[in-house]
Subunit: 184 residues, 2 copies
């Protein structure tokens, strides 16, 4: 499994058992034999943007990662959605944090499942309001790329690659729509 | 806060501290003073369907809840997304579990944030392959409703109400598209 198993109860600290809860649930859960708490683990959302520049949207902003995983690889600005924010607010926050970029969100663009790691990735199309960036500590460099300049072999994540492919394809078609799918 | 605070470390059971991790993260996390584990809590995804019947899609399937919360209220089939499945697979599973309905998924229809409870709700449009249902233990009754029969005041969740409103509106327009938004 890609996440470490829960070993102790979050409520009382006792060692948990991994078994069916017996309430009709068909999944094995981490259950506390002391206080009865059932611990659920669920997929995480990653939220980000496709920040584009220029009236024709010919350039997109990528960030060179300064952290693991995929240190030194290029990514669209994105990160884990937090409690207290919407998918859109999270996407704006990550774009600000990772690229120091001011944007105006247009619409949801891709929703891509990465079942293997228990994640759903959301990318919003976003108009850049300036071409000056102030990347944070998670980013070595933030810069604009035309389609022919995209470092396709140096992209950090499959969802970034697919989202960029959809973006430039839709741009050629002259219309953008929501794309959904699974990374397998 | 709508979820109980983490009190003990999932790795070693020690009582956690709630503080900034000191790694650049700007959110307070539950941190184990004994083994150093940082515990993150993130939004949950709820996945479901708008199951419709007939070539004209005039009827939709609703389930009368047999569990809390909202016992006795009507809902579209939906539930928490699990690890090991995609949003689409989760939506199919919940429709099978709650309504015992066989469906063919058409496309993603709504993505609605419910920030107050830390959830994102996904509904897929789905064609019913039969009008015979075998609801599970979470459902008292599963039946088809025409628009004018929908029990609007007896719906279990705001995301269900909004999704049904979008469905019948799009049906009148003769075209379905993805709707996104926030429940505030």
């Amino acid at each position: 499994m890609f996440r470490s198993k829960i070993k102790h109860c979050r409520e009382c600290g006792a060692a948990v058992e991994h078994r069916l809860p017996g309430d009709g649930d068909t999944k094995v859960r981490a259950i506390c034999p002391q206080c009865g708490t059932i611990h659920y683990e669920n997929p995480l959302n990653v939220v980000g943007t496709v920040p584009f520049w220029g009236a024709d949207g010919a350039q997109v902003l990528l960030c060179k990662r300064n952290i693991e995983p995929r240190f030194g690889k290029w990514t669209l600005p994105a990160g884990f959605m937090e409690l207290g924010e919407s998918t859109l607010e999270g996407a704006v926050r990550e774009t600000q944090e990772e690229a120091g970029a001011d944007i105006e969100i247009l619409d949801l663009f891709t929703v891509l499942n990465v079942v293997r790691v228990g994640q759903v990735h959301f990318y919003y199309r976003a108009r850049l309001l300036s071409d000056t960036f102030k990347p944070g500590h998670e980013t070595q460099e933030a810069r604009l790329f035309r389609e022919e300049e995209i470092p396709w072999e140096e992209l950090a994540f499959r969802t970034v690659k697919e989202t960029l492919e959809y973006y430039f394809e839709d741009r050629r078609q002259g219309r953008f729509c929501v794309h959904t799918g699974d990374i397998v």
